[in-house]
């Protein structure tokens, strides 16, 4: 359902018309349009927004851990259209039981590293990603540092050990 406040937003309205039911909600806090998207249809939505609505740039992908909420994770896509000079934020809720979502690498190649970063930091898997490995942490690292249940200090080593 497209919220009333975004009814005048051309790209959001076009998305709702072309793919009915993908928009689960949205808001426009601080004049920044944000849409919640059905996580199973994210690739379709991104493809539509890139090809038909000129959102040629993906500024980044990140996630937010809302522990102890359920669903726990929010994956955030920061879209940017140079032609329209607009930004649009897409969000998908991901449950802790199965932390996975389809990769949008086929839409924007820049998603490659951003998805690897989210996987590395939050442990969210991206289906059909060409090479889903850790990017910032060492490859044999245990745990996902940006999760809220991961301690800031003393995960594996403490200062006393040194």
């Amino acid at each position: 359902m497209l919220p009333d406040i975004l009814k005048d937003h051309a790209a959001a309205a076009a998305l709702e018309a072309a793919l009915p039911g993908v928009i689960a909600g949205g808001h426009s806090q601080h004049n920044e349009p944000t849409l919640w998207i059905d996580p199973y249809r994210i690739v379709e939505v991104c493809r539509f927004l890139k090809d038909k609505q000129q959102f040629v740039r993906l500024s980044g992908i990140t996630a937010v851990d809302w522990l102890p909420a359920d669903p726990r994770f929010e994956v955030v896509y920061l879209l940017h259209s140079l032609q329209r000079n607009q930004r649009l934020r897409l969000k998908c809720w991901i449950a802790e039981a199965e932390p996975a979502i389809d990769s949008v690498f086929s839409v924007w190649r820049t998603a490659d590293w951003y998805e690897r970063e989210v996987y590395d930091m939050f442990g969210i898997r991206f289906r059909n990603h060409p090479d889903l490995t850790r990017i910032l942490m060492p490859s044999d690292w245990e745990g996902h540092p940006l999760r809220k249940d991961y301690p800031v200090h003393g995960h594996k080593y403490t200062y006393q050990d040194e």
Binding site: S59, G60, T62, V64, L78, W113, L136, P138
Partner: protein, 417 residues
Amino acid sequence: MRESILHTDSITASDATHETVDQIATPSGTKRMILNMGPQHPSTHGVLRIVLELDGETILKAVPDIGFLHTGIEKECEVKTWQQVVTLTDRVDYLSNLSNNLVYALSVEKLIGDIEIPLKAQWMRVMLAEFQRLNSHLVWLGTHALDIGAMTVFFYCFREREDILRIFEMFSGQRMMTSYIRVGGLALEPPRGWQQVVGKFIGSFPSKVDEYENLLNSNPIWKVRTQGVGFVPLEDLLDLGVSGPMIRAAGMKWDVRKDEPYSSYDQFDFEIPVHKENDVFARYRVRLEEMRQSARIIRQALEGMPEGAWQASAPKIVLPEREKMKTQMEALIYHFKIVTEGFRVPAGEVYQAVESPRGEIGYYVVSNGTSKPYRLFMRTPSFGNLQALPALLEGRLLADSIASLGSMDFVLGDVDR
């Protein structure tokens, strides 16, 4: 590096008899070689490892390996108060500290909503951000020229950079980790006599840029090594998430300062330099012209600097003056609250982008209404730009990789955070 090239030659020369090297056929019918470039290679300007697959001197495949400088800044931000995070934003990118301070301050101010930044503080922020751009471009030009073999430029650039660092020190007490732009305005009152120092610098700087240009544009080696090198189509650059001077050298007029003006950039008169050649030389020309434009902005800021306050009047967010704390109970209470607990920011989320010397820095900030950020995602330009590295290197000569790498102007701290 030199040894490695020799080594490659020897493998190529004896390819018919050697069966031990990987048996993958390459276009020239020779055997491939894997070369580790970095993590301690001087021309990566940081700790970057690139695994190169070579066929003779041609790069077949380049795989960047990052993360050596990962320090968990985003995680650390979640346990610091809003005001403490400013010092962490300095340390993301050692060449654009003030741009990072600025984007953080702008995003938190946007979240707070009812805070009005005085015009003087806004202009001061613009002026210092432009000094930061000059600083970054000077370091880039000097080291890039040094990589390609033009050593003199390095000394010239660092001479001017030193003056800029002295200006930063005069304003903030720090040469690099300035933390000068804070939520609600500036950290300190602009020092007495800053106009003279900035005026002196900006009076002579444009002629210095001409000097660099004379040194390089008439240098045949520089031209041969940069012209026509490192071409990647504009669509690919956009698809790979590249922003900043690299995009402008590919013919696209996109600059966050013009398209989404922040901190009263719309009150300044400046041009966005664009070139169409899309090679290393075009990137050099774009950055050189950006230096001239930055100097223009600084001059306008110097001549038209508004009078008035340099901090917002928001006692719950901005630290009170020292004198008031000694005489007024309220000021003392606010000071105690801000220092111990920190100010609270209303729940919500924002994404704020600014144009850093390297491209689009965007901070995505989520608050849950407490005195600490719930999540702070730093969309750093170097991370986005570095993804285009394979596209720049693959199919090209190994010797050109240094010029291509340098033209991207990444900072590894900015990549790994």
